[in-house]
Subunit: 528 residues, 2 copies
Amino acid sequence: MEQISNGNADLTPAPLRKRGGGRAGSAARRGAAAILQSPWRIPLNTDRPTEPLDDAGIHAIHEAAMTVLEEIGVAFLNPEAIAILTQAGCLVEGDLVRMDRDFVTEMLAHAPPEWTITARNPAHTLPIGGNHILFGNVSSPPNYWDMSLGCKVPGTRDHCANLLRLTQYFNCIHFSGGYPVEPVDIHASIRHLDVMFDSLTLTDKVLHAYSLGAERVEDVMEMVRLAGGLSEAEFTATPHLFTNINSTSPLKHDYPMLDGWMRMARRGQGLIVSPFTLAGAMAPVTMAGAVVQSLAEGLSAIALAQYINPGVPCAFGTFTSNVDMKSGAPAFGTPEYMRATQMTGQMCRHYGLPMRASGSCAANVPDGQAMWETSNALWSAVQSGANVVYHAAGWLEGGLIASPEKFIMDCEVIQQIQRYFEPALTATTPGDLALEAMREVRQNGHFFGTQHTQDRYTTAFYQPFLSDWRNYEGWEQSGAVWTAERAHTLYLRILDDYHAPPMPDANRAALEAFVIARKEAGGAPTDY
Amino acid sequence: MEQISNGNADLTPAPLRKRGGGRAGSAARRGAAAILQSPWRIPLNTDRPTEPLDDAGIHAIHEAAMTVLEEIGVAFLNPEAIAILTQAGCLVEGDLVRMDRDFVTEMLAHAPPEWTITARNPAHTLPIGGNHILFGNVSSPPNYWDMSLGCKVPGTRDHCANLLRLTQYFNCIHFSGGYPVEPVDIHASIRHLDVMFDSLTLTDKVLHAYSLGAERVEDVMEMVRLAGGLSEAEFTATPHLFTNINSTSPLKHDYPMLDGWMRMARRGQGLIVSPFTLAGAMAPVTMAGAVVQSLAEGLSAIALAQYINPGVPCAFGTFTSNVDMKSGAPAFGTPEYMRATQMTGQMCRHYGLPMRASGSCAANVPDGQAMWETSNALWSAVQSGANVVYHAAGWLEGGLIASPEKFIMDCEVIQQIQRYFEPALTATTPGDLALEAMREVRQNGHFFGTQHTQDRYTTAFYQPFLSDWRNYEGWEQSGAVWTAERAHTLYLRILDDYHAPPMPDANRAALEAFVIARKEAGGAPTDY
């Protein structure tokens, strides 16, 4: 067990710890990469989505969601939101807001079907929507597990920083969601300052801000602005980060989430709402019912954002799953989860909204169960036409554990999904049809030596970095190492190989000064 | 390491060994099942297939396959087949046969798009084609691995019998392919007699006959006829078993496969041809090219069968994958494999043929890699509209190892795929939309206690038998057991729970007498 400190952290940003020394990293010095990975790319999902609902089914779910919004209503536990929705003409009684379908439809019409988030490194700017499918790291587990520990421990800043290094390292990971593990050794009042400092200096990819009270959201937006060296006008001109809020199911939005949501909306940043509608617990036991409730919760938040800032970029996130009937624990990657994700995809296309889904599992360790559950979840994201796949790498125990081994195993799967989308795999040009090669080989021998093969073999097939494709004897001779253990070894090599992305000195200095000043001012309240 | 005997086996069928005693099994005596599993069902794949080829792509692949058949030709290393194809008007030079597209098209038109195989237990009769998707056990690995051994050993009759028991036990397994592991402790001359005796008495599901010489095929057909108590007319009236042949890529069919294929064709039994076209080795390095070659090989065998017995039931099997660029070893469940499977699905629909695909992986042990590769393979079978999924449970090391732990892990995944196809998951009746339940719960509390939940909770969600959905602490308290080890424990419990299906005494006696007589006659030649 690690020793966990919950005491106050230093006021100055902690040195960025990593194996093997300084920020420049050792890969450049050594000249050898830890792994041969796929290049950065923005995958286009060219598959026709899997659509279990027919038109009548889509209509039925839409009608039911509108009925929930009109008749049952959604609670907005935030006076400012209530005032805005009253002004908008919604039927308000206390915290309860009923929206008619005309208002919702009018607001949804403002939401852009596609938008971008500009990363600190412009090469990592992300298109959200259309046929794009993007993958992010695990977000927000309070605990950490790795094979050298062999047990679950509360997350620390070091764990978090190392998972951020993996996030930056892997080209197949497009963005960082929430903290890849919650560093509970940093006091909650200043945690956002330290983790955002680490996130901004250890990665140059798109980042997320937690909607947990005014100070956190404003601090994080300011830090992203400073790290990018942006003016306020430049910052608000286009999204530079995003937030993801979860409703408090059933049918409630809480104060801090709404507060952050509205602040981000006003400054034109990316907004994702993902109701956590666990069928049989906080949502109806039927999958269609859970999707209906999820839509009512999510669309009501999007309507609010569009009323505040028409055209602000929004996306709808599905986080509908079912409980274990024995224990009540959430299950993930189940058949019901897959179908709910696919149905939500159909509804997102119906409303013209980009869609978020997840990689997820209930397994506690990075074993076979973890991988079939995560594969089910990831393939359902593909099948549903999801644009943003949260938690795609590193998630265990229903989101309560982050694991570097699982992160690396998931990246092998994600790389394969990205490779799967390359048009070359299903091309039918004369060269692909290979008649000349078959005329050459006929019934005799093999294709290894043909010019057709020689011209293509280096790029013809996906090349794994973690899968072991040797036969049993070859695998046994090299130690008979199972996948999770191989991933652990790679994890250590990748940390050694990692190097931080560059940041102009002035931006870094501004960021450091901001963190110090905000710590001196006491950080954020912790009574949320 | 186990002690392996390669000597001659007894002439009498060996007693059917299993843990815990006699044939009646202990489950009935104990009154408790080892696991709670899903019921037997014939799943309907209601998903629209994933179709990477547009019409032009389908046409291009078809044209290329026809060009191969017309211009390059396929070698039929069997004089009888050559005589038949000469008579049919094909262009024959030595072993080489060129078929024109009109002949192939005419022959394919005879092939029924759907057909059935009647099992010894009529309740296990299988519809092949249409939207049906069926799953079979692993077939033909020469080696066996389980966690108590901890190493790879040559397969034995005991291993084989235990895997047959799993095949019978799991409702999600619809048929037995080839021997689930090759029992190399039985002499090859009589191996088919002993393993078919075990298969017919340990299971009552649809079985496969190897096309490995006249005697084996004829013996196995006769044993299936005797076990079912069928007259010759009853046996040939409809398929009661099937064979699967592999071409000798590139573009060759060998003597024994063709011999068995023609014998089965004459007696109206199920015929599946699955070219093993490994892109970059025995087939072009491009996936479209490998599919073209696969089609030419497979369609030529189907044309032969249809000429011999027009209307005989055939299916086309895809076994197209790629090699590891480093080692030349076959890889499975790769992005390329998935796309080849989907493209083949489109071509099978183009030709009106039922389709076979596979569950497969390159992993050597039942770990994370095994499950993501197998998940990729199984989901590509679903996406391609495959009707028959061979090797769906128990396969490791590219088909060189059979493992009971992997078998049980795969069955958990297969059960989930079968559950995924239940229409209830995406139903949108008023009860599914759950408006009344939401009106009842509103913003307060949860859905556990509602009548809506009470009416549905026992069947609302998939219930796993192997997945552990408890939180980390619950899992840790029960021993922190990883998936493969849990599967091993279940394996032992299932063997204890297994009971053999009934067989009329007269049929059993006829079967035993046949085995004895054929052993006395020396079995089958072993020079194939």
